[in-house]
């Protein structure tokens, strides 16, 4: 069946799809977003139930393979040391993200020039800065101006989240060592903001925020975009993008909520499926003009996959830290080792991000895994040693682009509609390994300086494939990139990509703020060039 044509079809209603819809809404174009998931209602979230921690192992788990919801597609990541995390819904993975919201640094856009690694971006920090400002206002960022790790920037719209006893303890460790730290820029409203309730420190961020304080894009951009006329159709899974005889995208084929095949014609097709979903769909969109996948004349679709390899360092303290209170992932950040110092044995760098403590169930399971909490007579002593006495951090390493790290189509695995599923082909580079080792060692130093009596470490952290980047990167050279500096495909002039797949390098911070800032930059460029959008 064929639906009435629209001006713009956006595939994916997550972080980037929402921002683009909002920005383009004022053009009054006919804009439709197709999303394979559904809206998540406040009462759907686990945070109001006794089993809220346990549901991170079932229907609110990070891994689509583990969740197995109808709207999830499987990902073969069995051979990768880092496994994929994502969520499929209106709001996408922002439903489950920690909402840590840092910007990239100016140097992140010039790694080739500065350090001889990776590639330079076709845009720079200064060009993105006004879009970061807009995005931080729209997402409701809490934070503090004056961080010496960044150029001067517009202060966040809300004051920082509380540190609590745990955060202050860790800050003391950094202060003792004389190392940089700063309260996290967090897309969590520290006060009531733009119709959203302020954070109540419930600590359920990673299974979603029933309070609405966390800035997932379903509660930030989407309500305004919909008020302006943008439509979302949920439970619509796109199979392929088709092209006409001129090589222009002319429609998307999708399965609706009843499993019926539909065709949606559109003047502009925008991909917002992130670093795995986007290359998967492009590689599944094979035609006479594009036998190796749509927009893939460079051969780079799916290549240069970057995660952020994570190291986890958790310290055990003698005193209770009240670590079950507060935004889970948003506390303090350190950029002490962010910029390149070749004496460290690797190029580029990493961030530390402090974690809150664990709830009662996660304390037990963590202690089971580490051997600190045995079964039997010593169980309660072991538990008492850990519960509310741990504080930790993650080391977020910059991964460099390598063509061998890639997304391909799995020859056997398919989703419930029979669409070939993606396969992750990834190995940890020597540079990333050296960076992880350095970060874990320095993390131990911080925790010990803060008073930890013992530390547990894990690196790389296997289930930490939250940040999916690089698989359709931007650039000025069509031989070396998939889209141009404003997200338009080099090969298909009415096809745009706006998600993490267009990252050229990864930086060492959470990418959502940059994904959305890039999206707003692309949307503005589309609006500026509307009359000549498809010209060479």
């Amino acid at each position: 069946m064929s639906e009435a044509p629209v001006d713009v079809v956006i595939i994916g209603a997550g972080a980037s799809g929402a921002a683009l819809a909002w920005s383009l809404a004022d053009t009054k174009m006919n804009i439709l977003c197709l999303e394979q998931g559904d809206w998540v209602k406040a009462e759907d979230y686990p945070g109001s139930g006794d089993d809220w921690e346990a549901r991170q192992f079932t229907d609110f788990g990070f891994s689509p393979n583990q969740r197995g919801r109808d709207e999830d597609y499987p990902v073969n990541d069995s051979e990768s040391p880092i496994h994929t995390s994502m969520f499929n819904a209106v709001g996408g993975s922002t439903i489950l993200y920690a909402a840590h919201f840092p910007r990239l640094h100016p140097s992140d856009f010039r790694t080739k020039t500065l350090d001889g690694v990776g590639e330079d971006w076709p845009i720079d920090y200064q060009q993105l800065a006004p879009y970061y400002d807009t995005n931080e206002r729209m997402m409701g960022v809490s934070g503090l101006a004056g961080d010496p790790a960044y150029p001067a920037k517009t202060p966040p719209p809300l004051p920082p989240l509380p540190l609590g006893k745990l955060g202050e303890t860790l800050a003391g460790g950094f202060n003792k060592l004389g190392w940089h730290w700063w309260p996290s820029d967090s897309a969590i409203a520290s006060q009531d903001y733009e119709g959203r309730a302020g954070c109540i420190n419930a600590g359920t961020c990673l299974v979603g925020c029933p309070h609405g304080a966390k800035g997932s894009s379903d509660v930030t951009y989407w309500p305004d975009a919909i008020r302006q006329g943008v439509r979302i159709k949920t439970h619509c899974r796109v199979r392929e993008i088709t092209v006409d005889e001129n090589g222009m995208a002319d429609s998307v084929i999708y399965y609706d909520a009843d499993g019926n095949e539909q065709r949606q014609r559109a003047e502009i097709v925008v991909m917002a499926c992130n670093g795995i979903g986007t290359p998967r769909l492009l590689l599944n969109s094979v035609s006479k003009q594009f036998p190796n996948g749509l927009a893939n004349r460079s051969g780079l679709v799916g290549k240069n996959l970057m995660f952020h390899p994570y190291g986890l360092v958790r310290g055990i303290f003698e005193e209770p830290l009240e670590g079950y209170k507060g935004a889970t992932g948003c506390c303090i950040i350190s950029k002490e080792f962010y910029e390149t110092d070749t004496a460290r044995g690797f190029k580029r760098g990493y961030s530390f991000e402090m974690l809150r403590g664990m709830g009662p169930v996660f304390t037990a399971l963590s202690g089971m895994g580490s051997g600190h909490i045995p079964i039997g007579a010593q169980h309660h002593d072991g538990y008492a040693q850990l519960f509310d006495r741990t504080a930790g951090m993650v080391v977020i390493c910059e991964d460099l682009p390598e063509e061998s790290n890639s997304i391909t189509l799995d020859p056997d695995l398919k989703d419930s509609n029979g669409i070939p599923a993606p396969k992750v082909n990834y190995r940890l580079s020597e540079n990333s390994r050296a960076m992880l080792d350095h970060g874990v060692a320095r993390g131990r130093e911080v925790l010990e300086a803060a008073g930890a009596i013992d530390c547990m470490t894990e690196a790389p952290l296997q289930p930490a494939g939250w940040h999916l980047m690089g698989t359709a990167r931007m650039g000025d050279d069509p031989e070396r990139s998939v889209v141009n500096s404003w997200g338009r495909s080099h090969d298909v002039r009415n096809l745009f990509i706006i998600d993490g797949s267009i990252f050229v390098t990864a930086g060492g911070v959470n990418p959502t703020n940059t994904i959305q800032a890039l999206t707003l930059h692309i949307a503005d460029t589309i609006k500026e060039r509307l009359a000549t959008l498809f010209d060479d």
Binding site: G47, S48, G49, D50, W52, E53, A54, F57, H105, P106, S107, F109, T113, L114, Y125, L144, G146, P148, A149, P151, P159, L161, P162, L163, G164, E168, G172, N175, H180, W181, W182, P183, C199, I200, N201, A202, G203, T204, P210, H211, E322, Y324, K325, G326, K335, E336, E339, T340, P360, V361, T363, A364, L365, M368, I375, G376, H379, H380, F387, D388
Partner: protein, 154 residues
Amino acid sequence: MTKDVLTDEQRRNFAALLNQIIPSCPERSLPGAGEAGVGADIETSFATSPELRLVVEPGLAAFQSLLTSASAGRIDDLAPEQLATLVAELQSQQPALLPTLTFHAYISYYQKPEVQEALGIPPRPPHPEGYEMEPFDDALLETVQKRPKLYRPA
């Protein structure tokens, strides 16, 4: 599948086994896992987790056989050290059982309000009440604020 998977006798034995995983601790006002009703939670989970049932049911049958050999099936007749010996034997016969049970027992036990109250935290889900916290105090940042810029211009 219904909740009534196990017989009453199997449930008694199951509770005793769970009490070996998480024993009671009267000085901390903590019940054993069997006493806290963890067995019923796990039995309920059989309906949504057939793989769990595939491990637990034969494991409990093996436990029953060991009990029959040791005390004609009467678990109450066993001294604590005899029960511990049986559990060790069970572990060697059914290596998947105890890790699986422990995982599910920990999840069930530590989400029970009476256990959380004994741990000293509010016995309720985090939402909608949340927790009080003091606002951020930027006095902690005094030394960091005096540092020169850390970023590289580009």
